[in-house]
Structure formats: C-alpha cells, structure tokens
C-alpha cells in the first residue's frame, strides 16, 4: 500500500509541477487557444485522477490489507544489476566501441542470469556480437560507436 501511495503522490506531484511549467509558455498573439491550452487540460485530468487514485487507495485500505502477499521472486536484486549492466554498457559504448562493449555486456548478463557453461557463454557471446555487427553496421549501415584510441582501431577491423 505504501508504494501504491508513493506512486499516486508521485503522479500528483509530477502533474502539478508540469502544470506549473505550462504557465511559463509564452502567450500567442492571435488567439486564446495557445500552446498551454491542451497540456493544461491533460495535466488537469492527471491531477484529478491521481487524487481519485489517492482517495481509492485510502478507501480500499482494508481490502489491500487482506490481499495475499505477492510471491517473492528468486532473484530480486537482479533488477538493479540488469539496469547497472545496461547503464555501464551505454556509457562504455562511445569509449570502447560496439564490438568490445557488446562482448562484455553479454558475458555480464549471461553470468547475472546464472548461465555458467563457459563454452556456451563464449559461443553465444562471440556469435551474437558477430551477428549484430553483420546486421547493423554492415548490412543496415548504422554507424554504431567505434570507440576511441586503441579501441577504435580494433573496431575498424570489424566495420
């Protein structure tokens, strides 16, 4: 219930802040229907419905208390690790280039998901990276990051 409450309050706060932001839009010269008109209707609706949600959370307090607890997930921390790996990958892309960053990404992710067969990890990692390099930069001519310095030289070998 606490998280539901935080989410509802978060939506209310977000909508309120964005509504305030619309008051800073410059007015139009020729008509009253300016750039703030529609966003204010939408954000007004969001404020109204987040208030209804808040009221309904309080009204259903009893019911929520009776609801059976959610089954615990085997690896709850994996959510944060998966995000961390992805953030590092996106950050590393411009520095080490696509092929090397992708190899490391696959190894880290497979390890995170408890894949422990070294032979398969090597096969999947190298195979997937080659496939993606063939598809995106080579076939579809998408300029994926090449990295800098030595990494750039290595990437240039691939595309």
């Amino acid at each position: 219930m606490v998280i539901e409450l935080i989410i509802a309050l978060g939506i209310l706060l977000f909508s309120g802040l964005m509504f305030y932001e619309t008051t800073k839009f410059p007015p139009t010269r020729f008509t009253d229907i300016g750039p703030e008109y529609w966003p204010q209707i939408v954000l007004g609706g969001m404020i109204l419905f987040s208030l209804i949600l808040l009221i309904s959370i309080f009204a259903n307090k009893q019911k929520i208390g009776e609801a059976p607890p959610e089954e615990p997930k085997p690896y709850p921390l994996n959510f944060w690790f998966a995000i961390a790996i992805t953030v590092f990958y996106i950050k590393a892309l411009p520095v080490v280039g696509f092929p090397i960053a992708t190899l490391l990404f696959f190894i880290a992710f497979l390890w995170l998901l408890k894949y422990r067969c070294i032979k398969s990890i090597c096969l999947v990692t190298v195979g997937s990276t080659i496939l993606l390099v063939m598809l995106f930069p080579r076939l579809l001519s998408i300029p994926l990051p090449r990295g800098t310095g030595l990494f750039r030289m290595i990437t240039l070998f691939f595309y």
Partner: protein, 500 residues
C-alpha cells in the same frame, strides 16, 4: 482493380515475398515463445524497417502481427501456457486434447481455423475499409477530434480492471505527445533544454522501453536456468469430414471475430472468448466443451485471427488503432512519414493494396509454414531465457539507437523500461500510454484548429452530426465498462442477498 493488380505485381517481387515469409516465421516464433509477444516483435522490428521501402516494411510488420496471433495457440495447446493473450480461450479445449494424446490433431485444427478465420477477416477488411475511408473523406477538424476521442475511449476497455489507473496511463501518453516544439505556435514545451526532445518524444524509445525492456527487467528476477522439457511435436491437419464438421463453427466465429475486431478496443482476446462461448451456445453437445473437443479449438482460433484482421479496418480507414499491436503499427506508419486514414487509400493505393494482399497471403503461409515450424519449435523452446533475455535487450538498445543515431534515445528507452516495469507491477496498463502518445498530436491539433475556427466555442462539436455521433459513440465505448461493472456488481448483490 488496376491497383490490386499493381499490388500483386509488387508483392510478387522476390524481396517482398522473402520478407513476407520471414515475417510469418518471426510472427510464429514470437507468438509461440512465452515471454516474446507479437507486439514486442513488431516493436523490435520497427527500427530495422527504416532502411526498407514502406510497402516492404508494412508487409513484414503485418505478417508478424498476423502469424503471432495464431502461434500463441501452439504453447497454449502443448503446455497450457498461452504464447499470446489471444490464445487464452484455446487452452480450455486445446490442452485437454493434448492430455488425451491428441496434441497433433489440436494443433492441426488450430492451424486450419486460424488460417480460415484470417482469410475471412482479410476479405471483409478489403471490402469494408475503402468504403469507410470514403465516408471519412468528408471529415473536418471537429470530426477528426471526435474520431481521436473515439480512439482514446478504448483506454477504459484496455484497462477495465482498474479504470482510474488506465485513464492516468492514457493521460500520461497524451502528456508525452505534447513534449517538443508546438507545431502551431512554434514554442518548445517540456523540453528543459534537452536538444533531443525538441522534435518530440521518440515513439520507438517509448515503445521499446515500455513493451520490451520492461519485460526483460521483469524476467531477470525469475529463475531462468530451468530448461523446458519438450519431446517430439507434430501436427495433423483436419481431414475432409472434420473440415465439414467444423465449417459452421469456423464461419460463425470468423464473422463474430471480424465484427469485434472492427470495434475499437475490444480486441482479439475478447473475440476469442466470445467466439468460444457462441460455439458452446450453438453446439448440440455444449457439455462436451472443456473436455477436449475440436470445436473448442476451432472457435477461438478462427475468431481471434479474424479479429486481428478486422482491427486493421479502423486503423487503415480512420487512423485509429483498435488494439495495442495496431497502436504500435500506427506508430510505425507515422515513423515512416505515412498518416493512416481516409487519404491513405487515395495517396498510397499501392501500399494499401499490397498490404491487403500481403495479409491475405500471410494467412495462406500460416497454413503451409505452421507444420514445419511446429516440428522445429521443440528445438527453439529449449533455448533458455538467460540467452534470449540479453539478446532482446541488445536488440532494444540497437533498435533505439538506429532511429536517429542518438544515444539520448537509448537512455530514454531505458528510462521507459523502468517506468513500464513499475507501472505494470502496480497494475497500470501500458497500452493506453501508447494510445495517448499516438493519438495525442492529432487530438490536440484538430481541437485547436476547430476552436480557432469557431472563435473558441466548444458548441462547434454539437453542430456537426458526424462529430456528435462520434462523440456519443466514444462516450458509450468509454463508459460501457463502467456501466457493465456496476450492473455486474448489482447482479452479484442480488444473488448474494437470498443466501444471506
């Protein structure tokens, strides 16, 4: 007729045929594999279609959409795990047939009914959509705004379990659509100095984040090391006496499915359930349903495939999506610089007719490709999610980057992945966000145009009979789930009282 012939010639180009076959294969794969939906596959393919011509792109996406609706039944029949929500009703009799050792027959009936239902739906699509588009040509700003409202009214249907949350999701989507430079006044809105937001929130980033990345984030919490134990899988198409026996059920369910598919927001899942319950109602032996009868597989399968094609009618003729996947397809059209709606039939006749024929042939391809696919499916399903997960995530990152070669879009996709995960965990439906994002621009621009023309008077919407009818239809569609819930609650109270 000339346009259809030109489309046929276009479709027979080797590249287009190959794309169609590839699309059906990917659709079969995504629908059959639990954890990868047809919508997700369409989303992942959108960035790849940038380098392809528009007709080829939409052949690919439509084939994926069409085939994924059918293939959800494969895992529903074999493992009682619907690969797609549309196949929920198929589990009722399909899995019972598997338990009886008749899995091959159940799969065969599913293939035949799906292909037939899809073909009937496509024929109705080809006949109805152009006529509807001709009517829609008379539309002005008031009618277009009313039409957008009809499209948005679907939000309450998509989130019937918690309407307040569904409306918040829809409004959030409408808010996202306002980000960027306002096309009427030229003023930046909610950009906060971020250059990448000037042209608006990138639809693909939102789509990939909400539907694909959030799903991977959800799956990483589970134990993905468990391998699916699968034996040899085959399928047997129904023989002539069986086809004769099932023809009435298939035809009736296909008509029901197409009609439900045309109605915005009802979708293939409801169509399958209605098709199934009507098959029970019309059957001479209703007591046998649920014990593993062929009619129990034929009815939902023909109905959901017909509905999938029926949902293309409002998408193409009016530019309003009827389901989550058609909302994604609408986004794909916009990304290719094409606005679905009445003008599409006159500006892009080749594209529309190629798409029609592509859908028609896709259903035939399902009939021929499903059998060998099912044979190989046993090997595909053995691939653990610990390999599929990172691959999907990688495709998400590359797909988002490929749109504008901008790393900022990847960050946005990741952000929406987290938002999608949290929202879904707390029962906020995601499809209304996409509906709001896709229809928001149209709704705002047409509303402002109509109000500017009328001097700011809202009464202008009551002066046009078409706009008024559409607004009433939208209101009925929007409040129908609320009324239905109230009526259901009252009925339940009524039945509970005597017991007390």
């Amino acid at each position: 007729m000339n346009a259809l012939f030109a489309a046929l010639v276009n479709l027979l180009e080797p590249a287009n045929l190959a794309v169609l076959v590839g699309g059906v294969f990917l659709g079969l794969l995504s629908g059959a594999t639990p954890g990868i939906s047809g919508t997700m596959m369409v989303v992942l393919l959108i960035p790849i279609t940038y380098s392809l011509p528009a007709d080829t792109s939409f052949l690919l996406l439509a084939a994926v959409y069409c085939a994924s609706v059918f293939s959800g039944s494969i895992s529903a029949i074999l493992f009682r795990t619907p690969g797609a929500p549309e196949a929920v009703a198929t589990t009722l009799d399909g899995y019972e047939m598997t338990k009886k050792g008749k899995a091959a027959e159940a799969l065969g009936v599913s293939i035949f009914s799906s292909a037939t239902g899809g073909l009937i739906g496509t024929i109705i699509l080809i006949t109805v959509a152009p006529r509807l588009a001709k009517v829609a040509l008379k539309f002005g700003p008031t009618e277009y705004f009313a039409l957008a409202m009809v499209g948005l009214s679907v939000i309450t249907v998509l989130g019937a379990s918690n309407m307040v949350k569904a409306v918040i999701s829809g409004l959030f989507g409408l808010f996202l659509a306002t980000i960027g430079i306002d096309p009427t006044a030229g003023v930046p809105r909610f950009t906060f100095g971020i250059g990448a937001l000037m042209s608006g929130m990138e639809l693909v980033s939102v789509l990939i984040g909400l539907f694909a990345i959030s799903e991977v984030l959800r799956r990483v919490l589970e134990d993905n090391t468990v391998k699916q134990q699968v034996g040899k899988i085959t399928s047997t198409l129904p023989n002539l006496p069986m086809i004769k026996r099932l023809s009435g059920t298939i035809f009736r369910s296909s008509l029901i499915g197409t009609f439900i598919g045309i109605l915005p927001g009802i979708g293939a899942t409801t169509a399958a359930m209605v098709g199934y319950s009507e098959a029970v109602r019309w059957s001479k032996h209703p007591e046998k349903f649920g014990t593993g009868v062929e009619e129990g597989v034929a009815a939902p399968e023909s109905s959901n495939n017909a509905a999938a094609n029926g949902a293309m009618v409002p998408l193409l003729a009016l530019g309003i999506p009827g389901s989550a996947t058609t909302a994604v397809l609408l986004g794909a059209f916009i990304l290719h610089g094409i606005q679905p709606g009445p003008l599409l039939f006159f500006q892009q006749p080749l594209l529309v007719n190629t798409l029609f024929l592509g859908l028609f042939i896709s259903n035939f391809l399902i009939l021929f490709m499903a059998k060998p696919f099912i044979k190989g499916f046993a090997n595909i399903i053995r691939i653990p999610y610990s390999i599929l997960g990172p691959l999907i995530l990688m495709l998400c990152i590359l797909g988002t980057f490929a749109i504008r070669n901008n790393i900022m879009d990847v960050w946005f996709a990741l952000l929406f992945g987290v938002i999608g995960y949290v929202l879904e965990k707390y029962h906020f439906p995601l499809a209304p966000i996409i509906l709001g994002l896709v229809l928001g621009g149209m709704a705002e621009q047409e509303l402002r145009r109509a109000l500017i023309m009328s001097g700011g008077k809202w009464g202008v919407f009551l002066q046009s009979p078409i706009a008024l009818s559409l607004l009433i239809a939208g209101a009925v569609l929007m409040f129908w789930p609320v009324v239905a819930k109230l009526v259901k609650g009252q009925k339940q109270k009524g039945t509970d009282l005597p017991a007390q």
